[in-house]
Symmetry: C2
Subunit: 251 residues, 2 copies
């Protein structure tokens, strides 16, 4: 069972191994995660098993706060989070960081940077809990695309979804004031959950990090919006009072 070596600290992406016929460890352990993974959408567990058997693959485990991949790393393999969660962050030279996205099993990492002229990762990816990641080399993925139409379609969907997310992020960063960013965040919440009163999951520091702003500035804006009667904010509990005014803040 070669894939036990995948948990090795000496893991090296170059030496990813194919499974032999007896290998059942790799995918059986994570078949549930893979079944709900976007890239294997519309495929049965058995089909996924067959696919994983055919491609070179390996699983690696990361601890909380461990760096999974760095800005500048070369992407040669698709990485699927089969367990755990991570965040993608950018940093400037002073150490100020900007959180680009949060990734949970069974999301894929680096799917957008596997091809093209520049295969370097533009972000740091950091585990926020114990995380297991399945590696599949680019060439194997490419072969898979030719044989498994469904996987190709899913992959195209993944990259398109990502492009949409990135574009939204650009809009958020480039077009809006802090009030606009926060209003946007709240209104997305309302749209998703359909309630005008809720508890937000991110701390103010995290939100500031996502928005690329400073924490006290965000705090001040929340206070102001509260005082103006647009929202009621108490800690992480938010109540939308004047939804129309909030929409107006989107600019």
């Amino acid at each position: 069972m070669r894939s036990t070596a995948t948990e090795d600290n000496n893991f090296n992406e170059k030496y990813i191994q194919p499974c032999n016929d007896k290998c059942s460890f790799c995918f059986l352990n994570y078949v549930d995660a893979l079944k709900s993974s976007y890239i294997f959408k519309d495929l049965k567990a058995e089909a996924i098993g067959e696919i994983i058997k055919k491609v070179h693959h390996q699983v690696k485990t990361y601890q909380k706060d461990e760096l999974i991949a760095s800005n500048g790393d070369t992407c040669n393999s698709l990485r699927i989070i089969v367990k755990g969660a991570a965040v993608g962050e950018m940093m400037d030279f002073q150490g100020k960081s900007l959180r680009i996205e949060e990734l949970h099993a069974p999301d894929t990492i680096a799917s957008a940077f596997l091809f093209g002229e520049d295969n370097t990762l533009p972000v740091d990816v950091i585990a926020i809990e114990e995380t297991k990641i399945l590696f599949i080399p680019r060439q194997d993925l490419m072969n898979l695309f030719c044989n498994e139409n469904t996987v190709l379609k899913n992959y195209l969907d993944i990259t398109s979804n990502r492009a949409q997310k990135l574009t939204k992020k650009i809009k958020l960063l480039g077009l809006q004031s802090i009030r606009g960013k926060f209003a946007n965040y709240l209104l997305e919440h309302v749209r998703r959950e359909g309630k005008m009163e809720f508890t937000i999951k991110n701390s103010q520091s995290e939100l500031a990090n996502i928005f690329g702003i400073s924490r006290p500035s965000l705090g001040r804006v929340i206070r102001e919006m509260h005082n103006e009667g647009i929202i009621e904010a108490d800690g992480r509990n938010i109540k939308i009072v004047d939804k129309k005014a909030l929409s107006g803040l989107l600019k």
Copy 2:
């Protein structure tokens, strides 16, 4: 020759037609553009001709300043600019705009939004000169991917390249001051052209638009950097005096 209808004002994406065997208009007119197009990279003119014959397709012409596609439009077809150029812009509700990218023949439009859950275009695309665009419906493209490995690979490369560009844009917008943005712009110039002295192509207004800032603010920053001896700026002529200081501004 059905495709002459493609120049019709009543063009409707739903009714894109396949060519019959006699059709030579569509691709022969644009075969040079398509040959240098990324999506047909590594394919010979004849092969491209065969491909275009097999898929539904249509060409439409846009005048300067005409809106090619709007924020919110549904993307059902890949669009290739076979002649001309366009810009992709985002606008907020006040009309403040942010230029995301400039597109020249033979770039593709909307390649990143063809698949996935949300096929709506997040930007406005506006012709900046007379522009001709070739439409290929998604389903035909998908079929093509299965039969023409090269096209698939090229498409994956295109979307990856785009994701890289978007991510760089996020970094630019989210992580840097005006000085940082301008320094970044200048240093990219130096890296591409290898000269410390050059004439920039964009007006200050355009640059401000790309950076998502106001024109006088950019002007002021340029003046300050000039006065501090980091650069010499005279109109659009720029000379890098202190490259090290400039790099320091990237923060």
